[in-house]
Each structure stands twice: as structure tokens, then as C-alpha cells.
Symmetry: C2
Subunit: 340 residues, 2 copies
DNA sequence: GTGAAAGCGCTAACAT
DNA sequence: ATGTTAGCGCTTTCAC
């Protein structure tokens, strides 16, 4: 490993004070262009690279942010992470990545650890902390962007970004109703999930807006995976053969529904239309390909990081402190073309 | 944001010197248990948390490592990242995540940035830098683990972890030969990929070991996605209907092959056996589910981080400085049960 | 067992 | 436009 060249080394070599070198490097203007050029040349020659630690200690800024996600191996979060890092990179920031693994203790430890590292800001995704603990912890940080988590009361220096699941669900069900479907079921995923509750609400709103009855027996909760969807769809379609369309909590459940249809001899989309959610890569690979609600996860990440940067650099929240992203309906072959 | 409590504050409060507080906190033993207890209690009471920056500056250790991947949104790397972070967390380290996005300039910038942040070690995945630049850059870091990249000549402080693609391919083709297949094709993926070349070599070795001829017309390169696999399989099976088994470069190509079979009316696995590679989540979801070579990406990550920790903490390479992980053959429904 | 002084590498604030 | 001083918060070294 190369020995570290310090600012003192460069100063000595250039025959100036450390301060002059510092000014040359940080390009604040308050230095004569001539000496700046000379010093930069010498610094480059000596392969001088400033120490982030020393600089951070002196300025109390680290050009570093923390990103806490439940699980980076989950594509939903890894795509967000990609968006975050892209923006961070473009602005000279580095990202600490921490997994909370759905464990409140580890999430708390992650936040402690980021505090010790003195990050300039925090991006916290899908926090599982209860409201009180969450607010308490967030106040430790100067700037925070909360992704996919609502905050009951505003906290200073905290912005939020969420997905409008209600509107997404309404969009999906509206589409099905417009296409002439009378009996639309909802495979609702985990009962305790906030997203599930919001989508249920959208489903209900849509039916109501079209003056259709809400039939509780057409709402089935299930595990958010292929098998859960398969089982739920099997019992649903057996008990209620009049169902002509299914809106699923996610694409895996939708895929399970597809399997159930194969087994029951129901053709998709002719006998049963299916809409999923998330637009995971699998959605376009199954046969028939799935109509689904796309959430642009990468965009979620870039937006979150941009918001955080705004907070950090302007010391105040951006115009839209609490943003809501809207899912987009991607039409594929698991629904029939719109009749109009 | 809470004002930072420093070690001086705690010292004043406890009526001792800063040094004593430091000793209490770092638990080096050289302090009377009584005062240590007292100080720790006071520190906790005051919610004192040491500054990572100050400590790092003083000790020249940051308890921080850098992880550079081509793209964290790629499941292959996000799973590695998960493994890395798990081990890092368990040992009190934090991880800087950087994407090189297949761009050598950005990869170089990532390494520069990590050097400025003074990471204790570096995990570099699938580096695209040429040998010379790579070695030059790596020497800047005290400790490095190179993942999925071979190093022509050993470099001090650098360990490597790779996947034995050759052995994996041999395993797959051996299995097919044992199952009685005579005519086995290889859908080889991108020609320039190292993995592809190694798997080709395994394919050849296996045929040779069983005394089978190598037929060049049964080796088709294609894009490593579903469509590439579909097209390649279509032309392969049309031109050579005698093929009874396909070994595919990855699971997406295998999935494309599956589609081609549906179209051509060839039953899988009865008319054609298929083996994929990687065991992506999709592999178990398609019908029939894919027999595939599983690479335990998460394990790759944990092993890499453990190796790096060993380097950092013992200041010397572990017994196995250059490791090779072996893919595991996961038997599913796209191949017939083994005849024995 | 505990403390005082010096320094890690840099920059803010004040000179000049 | 450039230099000086002091200090960011901690640990190392060497006294006591």
C-alpha cells in the first residue's frame, strides 16, 4: 500500500502554506489562478488525494449518506439502491448500505452505526420501527428521506416518498370494469401489509364508483408468493366460477393464479383476466405475459436521493417534501385489449 | 439534530481525564473495573457515541470496506452484496456500495473514491479493468478480495474468489450423458464471456471423457436472455432434430429454449432435456421447472467478506488465498430422473 | 491505574 | 492573495 501523501507534503514541495494548497484543491476562487495551477500540477504529480476522514472531521461533512433497506437481495430494494447510488455518484457522494433484515434491533443498530459514521443524510426504506421509536431515532439525523413509510406527524428535516397503492389499485380495477368485467376478485396478499390495505381500499373505491356491489367472498388474503396465489386462486375459482377477472397483490400471486387456471382449464385472458402488481422481470416472461402495475423502483431511488441532496445542500426541504409516486398500468396478454 | 456528545464531555462529567474514558470505552483492560463501570454508566447516560471520523483519523482504521459491483440491481450481485453485508455487520464493519455500471472510468472513479474514504479493505466484483490498470489500482489498497475475476500474477494483499464454471459444466453434461443422452447441444451465451469459455471447456471435457464426438454445429452462441435462447433453440432444433438434451449458459436461455419447445411441440423433458445455470428465482417457477447449476451467490459474498476480514485482522492471507466455489446441480423437472 | 501532551490531516476564522 | 492559529474528537506515547 502506498504511503499517504498529505497536504503538508504538497505545501512543502510547492513552497507555500498548507492553507494555500487547501484553497487550490477546493477551488474556492480566493487564490491566484497562477499559483492554483502550479499547486494542482504538483499535487497531481505527487498523486495527492485528500483524506476524507480529516476533511470530514474538520468540516463536519462527510459526503456520505446511509441507505437502510430490509434486504438488498430483494429486487425491489436493489433497484431502489441502484437509483440512489447513481445520483449519489453524480454528486460526489458515497453510500453506506445496511440491511435491516426485517428485524427492529438490527434496524436500530444500523441507524446507530450510521450516526457514528456521521453520514450527512439518511435514506430509510420500509422501516419496521414503531412510530415513536422511529421519530426518536430520526431526530438524531440532520436530514432524512423516508421511503415507503408514512410518518404520522411531520418531523423537522424529514421528507417522505411513497407509492400511491390506492390509486394504482383503482386504475387496475377501473380498467377491468371498463373492459366489461362484472365479477372481479382481489387476491390481497398479507393482511398486515400497508400496501395490501391501501390496494384493498382502491379496489373498493373503484367498485363503488362504478356502482358495483362489494362481495367480501371475492377478497382472499394469501401469502405473497406463487404458491399462495395458486392455492387462493384454486379455492376462489372453484367456489365462485362466475369470477371473470382477478386483481392480484403482486406478480407472484398472479403467476400462481395462472397456474391454477392451467389446471382448471380456464383460458387466460378469454375466460379469466389477470392483473398483477410490481412488474417484476418474471411478469413479461410467463405465458401469457402479465398485465401489471409497474412501480418504477429505480426512479423511486433517484427521487429519494435527489430529495436528500436538496435537503443537505439547501438546508431546507424541497417544494414537494412529501412525494407520492404513481404506479403505471402495463398492458400485456393476461387481459383482453380494451374494448373502445 | 442532537448535539454531539464528545469524550471530553464525558470526562468532565466523570471527573477523570479523556484518556480514562477512552480506555473504559475501548475495553482494553488497562483500567480498574470500578472506574470503568462508572464511566460506562455515565457515557450511556449521556448517550455518548464515539465519532467514527475522529477515531479513524487517529487510528487509521475506519471499520469500513468498499464493495464495487457492476450493477447492484442485477440479482447476481445484490445477493453477493447481501452476504457481504451480513458478515460485515456481524463484525462491526460498514459497507460502501459503488456501481461500476460496466464502465471502466466509473470503476476507476469508484476505487479513487474508496481510497479517499480510507476503507480498510476492498471487495471488487467482476472488474472490467485490464490487467495492468487493475494491478496498479489494487496496490493502493492494503487489502483486497477480488470476486469473479482472475489475476494473472499474485499481488500482495490480494485474494481471489471465483466460480469453477468448467467443473459446473462438466457436472451438467456428465449428468446428461449418464442419463443416456447421445446428442447434447450447448447454448453458449456471449462469446466474449469468460464464464462462457470455461463452460464450453467443461462441455468439451465431459464429451471427451465419455468418448463422444465434439460437434461444432451443436454449439450456438446467443444473447444471454430469453429471446436469445428462444431464437437459438429454434434454429438448433430445426436444423438438428436429433438433439435430445440442451445445456444452456443461463436460466434465461433455458427458459427461451422451453418456449421454443412449446412452439415446436417437443415435450420437456421427454423429448428434450434442458439444464440451465444460475438458479435464478424464475428457474423454479416456469413449467416444467428447470434443472440448473446453482451458484450460491450469497455464500460467495459471505466467503469474500470473511476472507477480507481475515486479511484485515490477521494482516496476512488466509490459508486459502485463492478460492474456487463449485456450482451445485439442482435437479428439477426439465430433466428426467436419473436412470440408475 | 491514570493523566498530560502531541498529533492524525484537514479547514474555519482571523490575520497580514 | 496568502499565512497563522486553533481546533474538529479521538488515540498514542510517555510520564506519574
Amino acid at each position: 500500500m502506498t504511503k499517504r501523501v498529505t497536504i503538508a507534503d504538497v505545501a512543502r514541495e510547492a513552497g507555500v502554506s498548507m492553507m494555500t494548497v487547501s484553497r487550490a484543491i477546493n477551488d474556492k476562487g480566493e487564490i491566484s489562478p497562477a499559483t492554483q495551477q502550479r499547486i494542482l500540477a504538483i499535487a497531481k504529480e505527487m498523486d495527492y488525494r485528500p483524506s476524507g476522514l480529516a476533511r470530514g472531521l474538520a468540516t463536519q461533512r462527510t459526503a456520505t449518506v446511509g441507505l437502510v433497506v430490509p434486504d438488498i437481495a430483494n429486487p425491489f430494494f436493489s433497484q431502489i439502491a441502484r437509483g440512489v447510488e447513481d445520483i449519489a455518484y453524480a454528486h460526489g457522494y458515497n453510500v453506506f448500505l445496511l440491511n435491516s433484515v426485517e428485524d427492529v434491533d438490527r434496524e436500530r443498530a444500523a441507524l446507530d452505526s450510521l450516526w457514528e459514521k456521521q453520514v450527512d443524510g439518511l435514506l430509510l426504506c420500509s422501516s419496521r420501527l414503531d412510530q415513536k421509536t422511529l421519530v426518536e431515532r430520526l431526530q438524531q439525523f440532520r436530514y432524512v428521506v423516508l421511503v415507503n413509510r408514512l410518518l404520522q406527524t411531520a418531523v423537522d428535516g424529514v421528507c417522505t416518498i411513497n407509492v400511491d397503492d390506492t390509486a394504482g389499485a383503482r386504475q387496475a380495477v377501473d380498467y377491468l370494469l371498463n373492459a366489461g368485467h362484472e365479477t372481479i376478485a382481489f387476491l390481497a396478499g398479507p393482511r398486515q401489509s400497508l400496501s395490501s390495505q391501501q390496494r384493498l381500499s382502491g379496489y373498493q373505491q373503484s367498485l363503488q364508483a362504478y356502482g358495483r356491489p362489494l362481495r367480501q367472498e371475492l377478497i382472499l388474503h394469501c401469502e405473497p408468493d406463487t404458491e399462495g396465489g395458486y392455492n387462493a386462486a384454486l379455492s376462489l375459482l372453484t367456489a365462485h366460477p362466475d369470477v371473470t377477472a382477478v386483481y392480484a397483490f403482486n406478480d407472484l400471486i398472479a403467476t400462481g393464479t395462472l397456474k391454477a387456471c392451467q389446471e382448471l382449464g380456464r383460458r387466460v385472458p378469454q375466460d379469466l383476466a389477470i392483473i398483477g402488481s410490481d412488474d417484476i422481470p418474471l411478469a413479461s416472461l410467463v405465458t401469457p405475459s402479465l398485465t401489471t402495475l409497474r412501480i418504477t423502483k429505480r426512479h423511486l431511488g433517484t427521487t429519494a436521493m435527489q430529495t436528500l441532496l436538496h435537503l443537505i445542500q439547501q438546508s431546507e426541504p424541497p417544494p414537494a417534501a412529501d412525494q407520492t409516486l404513481h404506479p403505471q398500468l402495463i398492458l400485456r396478454n393476461s387481459t383482453l385489449p380494451h374494448p373502445h
